[in-house]
Amino acid sequence: MKKLLTKLFLLTSVLIYSQDVRLDFDYSITNPTVGDTITINIKTVDVNSSTPSLIQFDLQYNTQLVTKINNTFTVLTNGTNSTAQTALSEFTGYKWSDGNETATNLSALYTGWNSNSIGYSSNNNFNVERVTIQDGQDIVHGNVYQIKFKIKDRAAAGLADYSDIVELNWGRMIDNSDNTNYTVTSAADNIDLTSVAGVNAGTVTINVNSPHSNKDKMSYKIYNSSQLENNVPKSGESPAYSGNFDANGQFQSTALSLDATYYIEIEAADGGSGWMNSIVTVTDAYKAFQYAIATNINGGSTAVFEYVLQKLLGDVNGDGSNDISDSYEFLAHINGYESSAAIPTATGTADYHYAGLIADFGVAANNYETKVFTVTESVKTFNFGHAFKGDLDFSHSTEPTATAAKQDNFTVSSITNPNTGQNMIISNASTPDENYTLDISSAIVDGKVELTVNLNTTGLVGSQFNIVFDNTILAFESIKYDTGNEMTDFSRVQGNKLWIGSLDYNGQKEIKTGTPYTVTFNMIQTVQNTAGLINYTITEGVKANGTKVNFNIQ
């Protein structure tokens, strides 16, 4: 508004002068971007039957905002003044001041400069060009001079905008045949550029709010807006920027531009440590079963996940529903089978990653994950959520924070399994984990190696033990369960891996305390002790209400 009033004032001021001729800029640029070329024509516009044969003016440009490419005396190609005399003098490191004169009254500015009341001072950020055109005949009104600039990144100079990139300092026009000195004005004596794209944003910070300790194994791929189609990267596009987050789940970039829009993909890789095997565990499997068995014979379900995103995470077979077939995929996974490619494993690809701006992460109306973000002067930090398929308890995934990400009808105490009549608290991700003490150890007993799990706490409806043993020394012989008569137990041996566990997916039976699991190995090589021969990679339990239990091994 202020700018508009100023322009109106200037326009009014011009109108009240007894002007004869104008010296104006003529340029056009759309969607200006750093690195673009801007071509500026300077033209005379007759106002009052002026017939100049001498045109002279000073023009300055901001060297922090533009770089001069070249100049052309276009007057020579107007069809009439091809033999006009032209001269260009260039002065480096000077800046003009209008003093008390009106900026568009170029004649008055010239007069002031001649009387030394206004003028130049040294300034390394500006250069001045003095243009002189003279002919033995009238100079035809129109374009007389052209100058081209390349737009620079204002961020490098610490400037806030692209105002006054070029300015007319003064001007005069004379008819040499009768020494008529015309009053020269300008419609606008300077050029401002707005909405210039490609301005470096400085340091932009991207965070991923993942709850696990392997954030340095998470990666990002960023695409420019020009690489997108319908807000996703076009087929075959390579990311403009890519890399890994640091251990704190953060990376910083100085390559992004202000007011530019980007698309980000966030993924994760195991890296050989096996951490991705522990993403989907018995707790997730139990939650999947609890949800699925709440479906009645007519297909209706009383099950409600706490977050709408969990329906996507739980649909590991990708059939669009959360039913018993998904649950068995979970069960197969915790029993050591690579059932669904969607469930992340150390050796799998973790096909599905959900990642989006935390503000609307998991909000169905925003398609659960907003991957497009715009860097502005005031917003240079972006926080993202990330979730793995199958991670129903959010052990390694970001629990949504947006209110709209929650199920409207979710209340912990109101979910009842229609088949059992039992109250179910299946998906309250907010429930904190509990810690149980567990004694698990190996020993040599009667020439064999025994691994025993001793549990002295009640309340577990499920457990999972992923074990790795040195199969060059030990050979699996048997496993003895003492978990209770009605508990469903499972185990599997493949190579040097052993999966053991129990799960009552109805949540009605508890694992018996005592020594629920005893595993016996034969010695292939005779050893005197067993330290390190048998290692535990996952030890976890789940309570009937869906609470995850971490085992503190004693």
């Binding site: 300790s213 050989g272 440590s273 096996g274 698990i440 150890s441 190996s442 020993a443 790795v468 043993f469 040195d470 060059t472 020394i473 040097n496 050893v527 005197q528 002790n529 067993t530 330290a531 390190g532 021969l533 048998i534 290692n535 535990y536 990679t537 091994i553 004693q554």
Partner: protein
């Protein structure tokens, strides 16, 4: 003939001598790199381990003890219970199934009183 007579005479003399009493004492050879000066403790033969490493577990008395392997987060990844006599016990820690990281090995009583610990790194 002279030699046979001398041998017979020697056997007669030795056969009439008083019997010596022998006491059999268990002795565990402890290499220099595993010697523990204190009464109890734990020492590794090497702190960079490939496959397995010798370990001296010196016990204050005979009984049941625990040997634990903990990862960088102090999570117990392996635990053994041993029945062993007082003094030096040369055993092994097997690491071929562990990821290449750094670990702590601890010696505890069965009641979890810490007697010694050491840190090793795996180089498979």
């Amino acid at each position: 003939m002279k030699k046979i007579l001398l041998l017979t005479l020697s056997l007669l003399v030795l056969g009439c001598a008083k019997d010596l009493d022998y006491e059999v004492v268990d002795f565990t050879f402890v290499p220099d790199e595993l010697v523990i000066a204190e009464d109890a403790g734990l020492r590794l033969a090497s702190n960079i381990v490939h496959g397995n490493v010798d370990i001296n577990v010196k016990l204050p008395s005979a009984g049941t003890y625990r040997i634990r392997v903990l990862d960088i987060t102090n999570r117990i990844v392996s635990q053994e219970k041993i029945q062993a006599p007082k003094g030096d016990n040369i055993l092994k820690v097997y690491v071929s199934t562990l990821p290449d990281e750094s670990y702590t090995v601890e010696l505890l009583t069965n009641q979890e009183e810490l007697l010694g610990k050491d840190v090793f790194a795996i180089q498979q």
